[in-house]
Symmetry: C2
Subunit: 413 residues, 2 copies
């Protein structure tokens, strides 16, 4: 440890904390040191301390109450991989205590808890970053790079989502009482919007010259979880959550974003990314990019003997060598850490902001706008799929574009 | 010609008629014979007659007014590849004259013109089929086959669309006054819904035990056409049509359908097809199918040493040999005609219905429901992207499932 070492507390020691701690093992003890951990469940505290022992790392202070950890002077910042319902309340307390809060991804249950988050950040001068690892995904960052260079032209439409078959995990006996399972049992909305929407929001300059204006959401019938429960011999219950929840967001600058949430049906994983402008498009599911003037257009002849043209996808990886984002150019030869290296990058970005007391690249207004999707999509569906407006959590500050780049981790300039 | 030969009139001799006539050249003169053609433009009539001469086919009778062609006793049925605004009025007149009408694809400008179509079919006993070639696409039919066999489980969500970069064609000097260009200049809606939605409607049993309940539509900003016009040195005008129009349709059985229209931006062609149930999914853009129990699921290990599973796409063509629809099993060794053979199949289906005086596989209620999307999406966008209800053009008959298969061309059983 030295003067630049970030002293980290970790609040919530579930499976997500385990992955984060595994990722942090690749960080030097000069870069950051986990000095305190906290969980209401003593078994998880013991399990976690055992990991430190096994890896010959200094054993952190242990707490069962997050407020006690937050009072520890040997902690500069906290990671909050707790259950979804508690992220925001703990983040508020962290900022009140003058600490930086790194909250894990998730959605809000009310717009009010997001206003509280914003008020606390503004009042106490602490700061809050959502550790949205997908903002540091290789393809997401490369496409941002292409967009900032003007190679996609003017952006007009995007899509994103979270499509991940975890149905069996949530209905199986072991998990059906977990918070995530109960959210899906009781709620009908886009529960988990940020993996897809975070990177898209950055690319569209949301809160920096643009903002989300409204969202309208639609739920399909709900039969995936029930079907899984039957197959697994688990309790067969009606889930409130539609198997596929589709939303459309309108932005102040006229772009539309199509958003999808689906976790109860068998299918390969996708974040459904699409970024489209007047000159180019990236489509994750096609593993392709098309840029006018760069990608190929074929001329064919139809049955009547007349010509017609077909644009062809370029494989995304064709662009890596030249157009990887600077963050990935530096990282690509030796990516380490969870989720293909994205966890490492998100953590490094957070630590950099803590160390320099700067505004993190995903700030409190981003957290509020992105997490609002859950509460607002729930409201839209409850009211019969009508459009509902987004609050302006910046109170007008969004009309100005991002300033100069703060650090190499900055995603806004 | 013999007693079973269908005597066809063709009304409207533009580029689409040219492709249809090229496709019909592979049909024997015993199967069908074009006995009359009609266009208000004598140049197109001459151009078309020249095609007949060049191919040593009997020269048809020529008309400049469709009502005169419809009075010709030497015509059993008509194809109507006219401009969009006139499809429905001519189809009504055809049914009044006791002829079968094969209308080309397109959308309606009002719900009222669709009611008129339905009333004319019911009153005069004629019949109307939309020549939606994509209903006979190989992948669309194979997926229908997989769904009918139960291999996708219970269906919950679909998507479809028409994404085709024809921006340059519509703003170029030669075409900017054409009807399609003016529709895009003046209207903001899903102008061209049926290529994607037709096959999906068949797969979801729309009008046969299911129906479209409501649609809600959203338009992105409009800058693609303008950008193209600038590049081509054409007149730069503001187009009403959003570059990407996204809609969500809710169905009576609880399924949702995401629908996209986009023709002004550079990108590879796609009909955006997705068909998803509790056991399987087809995603056109991924060129993949995943079926639980058939497709592969890998077990991986994460950075913390814990296992997680990944489902993998099977390539669509892996399923052709065994699961091609019977129509394609018969056709696949020697597909002929426009659009990869789909035009041939749609025409054969129409001729079969005319010959046997049976209800065509895409009937007047299908035409009405599918074409209503254009008028209803326009209404939704005009009202601020609120959901608007679909009329029930069947007046309640949709609650019953399809009966026994009428012919091998039947898409409903």
């Amino acid at each position: 440890m030295n003067n630049n070492t970030v002293k980290l507390g970790v609040i919530g020691l579930g499976p997500r904390a385990e992955t984060l701690l595994a990722t942090l093992r690749d960080f030097s003890q000069e870069e950051c040191c986990v000095t305190a951990v906290c969980d209401i469940n003593p078994e998880r505290v013991n399990f976690t301390c055992e990991l430190f022992r096994k890896n010959n790392l200094p054993i952190p202070a242990v707490y069962s109450k997050h407020t006690e950890l937050l009072a520890d002077k040997n902690v500069d910042a906290v990671l909050i991989p707790t259950s979804w319902n508690s992220h925001l309340a703990i983040a508020k307390d962290a900022m009140k205590a003058g600490k930086y809060a790194g909250i894990e991804v998730g959605g809000a249950s009310s717009v009010e808890e997001l206003w509280q988050l914003v008020h606390n950040a503004e009042e106490y001068g602490g700061s809050c970053m959502m550790l949205e690892n997908c903002c540091y995904g290789r393809n997401e960052l490369m496409v941002m790079n292409l967009v900032r260079k003007g190679m996609f032209g003017e952006l007009v439409h995007c899509s994103c989502g979270y499509e991940h078959d975890i149905g069996a995990e949530l209905v199986g006996e072991e998990r059906c009482g977990t918070e995530r399972a109960v959210h899906n049992l009781k709620r009908n909305c886009d529960l988990y919007p940020t993996h897809g929407l975070g990177p898209i929001a950055k690319i569209l300059n949301i809160n920096r010259g643009n903002r989300f204006l409204s969202i309208c959401s639609f739920a399909s019938k709900a039969c995936g979880f029930k079907q899984r429960a039957k197959e697994l011999g688990a309790a067969v219950t009606d889930y409130a959550m539609g198997d596929v929840v589709s939303s459309i967001i309108k932005c102040a600058n006229g772009e539309t974003i199509a958003l999808t949430h689906s976790i109860s049906l068998p299918r390969p994983y996708s974040r459904d990314c699409r970024v489209q402008g007047t000159k180019g498009i990236w489509l994750e599911d096609a593993k392709g990019i098309f840029i006018e003037g760069i990608s190929e257009t074929q001329i064919n002849i139809d049955v009547a003997g007349n010509p017609y043209s077909s644009h062809l996808w370029d494989p995304v990886d064709k662009f890596y060598e030249e157009y990887d984002h600077p963050i990935w150019k530096e990282f690509r030869d030796n990516p380490t850490g969870g989720h293909g290296g994205m966890d490492t990058l998100a953590l490094r970005a957070f630590l950099d902001a803590v160390r320099n007391r700067t505004v993190p690249p995903i700030d409190v207004y981003d957290c509020a706008a992105w997490m609002a999707v859950t509460a607002l999509s729930e409201a839209s569906i409850a009211a019969g799929s009508v459009p509902v407006p987004f609050p302006d959590f910046t109170n007008g500050k969004w009309i100005y574009p991002a300033g100069e780049k703060i650090s190499k981790w900055d995603l806004n300039s």
